[in-house]
């Protein structure tokens, strides 16, 4: 069965647009405006990075953003208020993306409840392995969707085991590397995407290092959604972030949906 939350991304003919931004980066106000802008530009799902001191899968751009937000005394309840506020105006699905240690305080159950009440739709926890069934169950029992990462190094056995957890969406990492790197191997990526798509009936999105219309063109027919992260986060650190973001993202969206 196709999950309700991500229904659009799977059933629409066009490929989905899935932007990633870091919570409260570059500051709380700009973050809120960026969130609104992305929704108005018809983002299909928005990923919100939960800042962490030690984001081991992030490249320099996103790591810096995490650290900046923490230096500015990031407060998770402020973020939850912002999400609630956003959800009163838009129904764009929101996914909290981050690292296990940010998702278990004061304990995992309370964190899930708080996130759910605020309006988050699901979690993508980069360093939580599929074998942690109990933790995954807690997420699902709180009526939150669970997104599974797969990588070029994932074996068939791992893929099968991951899918047994019934994720609501699968996120394929394009490369061996951190976010924002530029080692895209088109042939390998499309081959893996085709193989994974054959095994699943939930949406399959693709990300890591996708920045240009050329990248988008390479993959859009093999995936249900394209994730764009580092280049958006980078733009948000610049002067006039929102206008620059809109100018950058509009042609990409056009290409993705074309």
């Amino acid at each position: 069965m196709i999950n309700k939350t991500f229904k659009n991304i799977k059933t629409n003919k066009a490929t989905g647009f899935v932007p990633y931004i870091v919570a409260h980066y570059p500051n709380r106000d700009t973050f809120k405006e960026a969130l609104t802008l992305l929704a108005e530009l018809n983002a299909d799902v928005i990923e919100i990075g939960i800042p962490f001191t030690d984001p081991i899968a992030e490249g320099k751009v996103i790591e810096k953003a995490h650290h900046k937000v923490l230096e500015d005394n990031f407060n998770i309840s402020d973020l939850l208020d912002d999400v609630k506020d956003f959800k009163s105006k838009f129904d764009t699905p929101l996914i909290a993306m981050g690292y296990t240690n940010s998702f278990i305080n004061p304990d995992q159950e309370s964190f899930c409840q708080n996130a759910k009440n605020a309006g988050f739709d699901g979690f993508l926890i980069v360093d939580m392995p599929y074998v942690e069934h109990e933790m995954i169950e807690i997420i699902k029992n709180n009526d939150l969707e669970f997104v599974q990462l797969l990588a070029p190094t994932s074996t068939d056995k791992t893929i099968t085991n991951c899918l047994a957890n019934e994720p609501a969406m699968v996120y394929y990492i394009t490369q061996r590397g951190v976010t924002g790197s530029g080692n895209l191997d088109y042939a390998e990526i499309t081959e893996n995407l085709m193989a994974i798509r054959n095994k699943i009936n939930v949406p399959l999105v693709t990300g890591f290092g996708i920045k240009t219309t050329e990248h988008v063109n390479q993959f859009k027919n093999f995936t249900d959604g394209i994730v764009i992260g580092s280049s958006i986060v980078d733009i948000l650190s610049k002067p006039n972030p929102l206008i620059t973001l809109e100018n950058y993202i509009s042609p990409l969206i056009k290409e993705i949906k074309a």
Partner: protein
């Protein structure tokens, strides 16, 4: 229960890109660890290259000075490269060769693990890259030069706190990127499964030797074993063969930092359960799960996490974990240098400082301190601190 758990601690909390590499390592290690071929290959290196077995030394002057229990040192400081760290790196470098990996990466704090890794990579003709925090590069200049002399590259890490934890982050990022041809030699009993087990097993050579030596030289097992705990590899190495010997008290000494007002490096004493660098363990963190900046005069203990098996031993009360502050460690550093003619590493000085707390025990009591490393690398820091 999932693989790689010690009670409720451990696990494999890593990005999916690395799960295959960890599985591969786990499988290879299980296949070869008990084979005669691997054991004799490793033993040859331990004996002829590292200089094992390391002596169990009776610290007569220090014993006399305190006038209490008999004090012994397990002399890991006499190993090639001057610390216990080489016990692990030689074992893992052999595993890397068998995995067909030509490139090695490692993180280092005090620089001892970096030196021990660069050393075996030189011998086995493996490319070697060492990640080291900028703060540690400054306080461990000599080891940085040693690593470069051995032909390895040192990459400074300036993000975050620019210490060991950030060097670990950068190493993981390199590993994610180069996982096909690179083996990551983690330097302590930390990280995702199977590292805590593999690093413990390679370090357990010291505990196994100690058992034999104690029976020969003391005619019984020691009453107490004391070791400093950063990530916990030297401690786990001497503790592990004694875990079933319930009469042997196991004392892990954590770094308290400058004073009790400070965040030191005492993850078991002052930390709480969390997930860091691949494992669920005790960590020093804020109430929202961000990792705290730690402080210790010794770079090797300046880390906000601890090996998951230590967290478990603390929970089940099989080992006791105490805190020693910078000044107490410095006092012990000078005391042992002057009484025994052995200059200890500042990490080790934390374990030695614990003797002050047990000096009134009876003269029948035998205490072994694991002399995890020698102090050459720290002379510069101590000199600056004294100014």
């Amino acid at each position: 229960m999932n693989k790689g758990y010690f009670g409720k601690y451990g696990g494999t909390f890593i990005p999916e890109t690395l799960s295959h590499a960890c599985e591969e390592l786990d499988k290879l290690y299980a296949e070869i660890k008990d084979t005669d071929e691997f054991k004799s290959e490793l033993n040859d290196i331990y004996v002829n290259y590292v200089g094992r077995p390391s002596p169990l030394y009776f610290a007569e002057s220090l014993t006399e000075y305190y006038g209490g229990p008999k004090i012994w040192f397990k002399r890991e400081d006499l190993n090639h490269t001057g610390a216990h760290k080489i016990n692990n790196t030689v074992g893992q470098a052999l595993l890397a060769k068998k995995l067909g990996k030509k490139r090695i990466i490692a993180e280092t704090g005090a620089g001892q693990h970096g030196v021990a890794t660069a050393t075996i990579c030189a011998k086995l003709n493996l490319d070697c890259v060492i990640y080291m925090g900028q703060t540690d590069i400054e306080r461990q200049e000599l080891n940085v030069f040693k690593i470069k002399t051995l032909g390895a590259e040192v990459i400074p890490v300036t993000s975050g706190t620019a210490t060991l934890k950030d060097a670990l982050n950068e190493s993981i990022r390199d590993w994610v990127t180069n996982v096909e041809d690179t083996h990551y030699i983690i330097g302590s009993v930390t990280g995702p499964h199977p590292y805590p087990t593999i690093v413990r097993d390679f370090n357990a050579i010291s505990g196994k030797e100690l058992k034999h030596q104690a029976l020969e030289q003391i005619n019984k097992l020691p009453d107490m074993i004391v070791a400093c705990v950063g990530g916990g590899s030297n401690a786990m190495g001497v503790f592990h063969p004694f875990i079933e010997d319930k009469d042997v008290a196991l004392i892990g000494v954590e770094a308290g930092g400058n004073s009790s007002m400070d965040v030191g490096g005492a993850s078991i004493n002052d930390g709480s359960q969390g997930v860091l660098h691949g494992a669920k363990t005790k960590i020093l963190q804020t109430n929202t799960g961000d990792i705290l900046e730690t402080n210790s005069i010794s770079a090797g203990l300046d880390y906000p996490g601890v090996g998951p098996e230590h967290a478990h031993l603390a929970d089940i009360k099989r080992a006791e974990y105490v805190k020693i502050y910078d000044q107490e460690a410095l006092d012990a550093f000078y005391l042992v240098s002057r009484k025994e003619g052995i200059i200890p590493a500042l990490e080790t000085a934390h374990a030695l400082a614990y003797l002050e707390k047990v000096k009134t025990l009876s003269t029948d009591v035998n205490i072994v301190v694991n002399m995890s490393g020698r102090g050459d690398k720290d002379l510069y820091s101590v000199m600056n601190n004294d100014k």
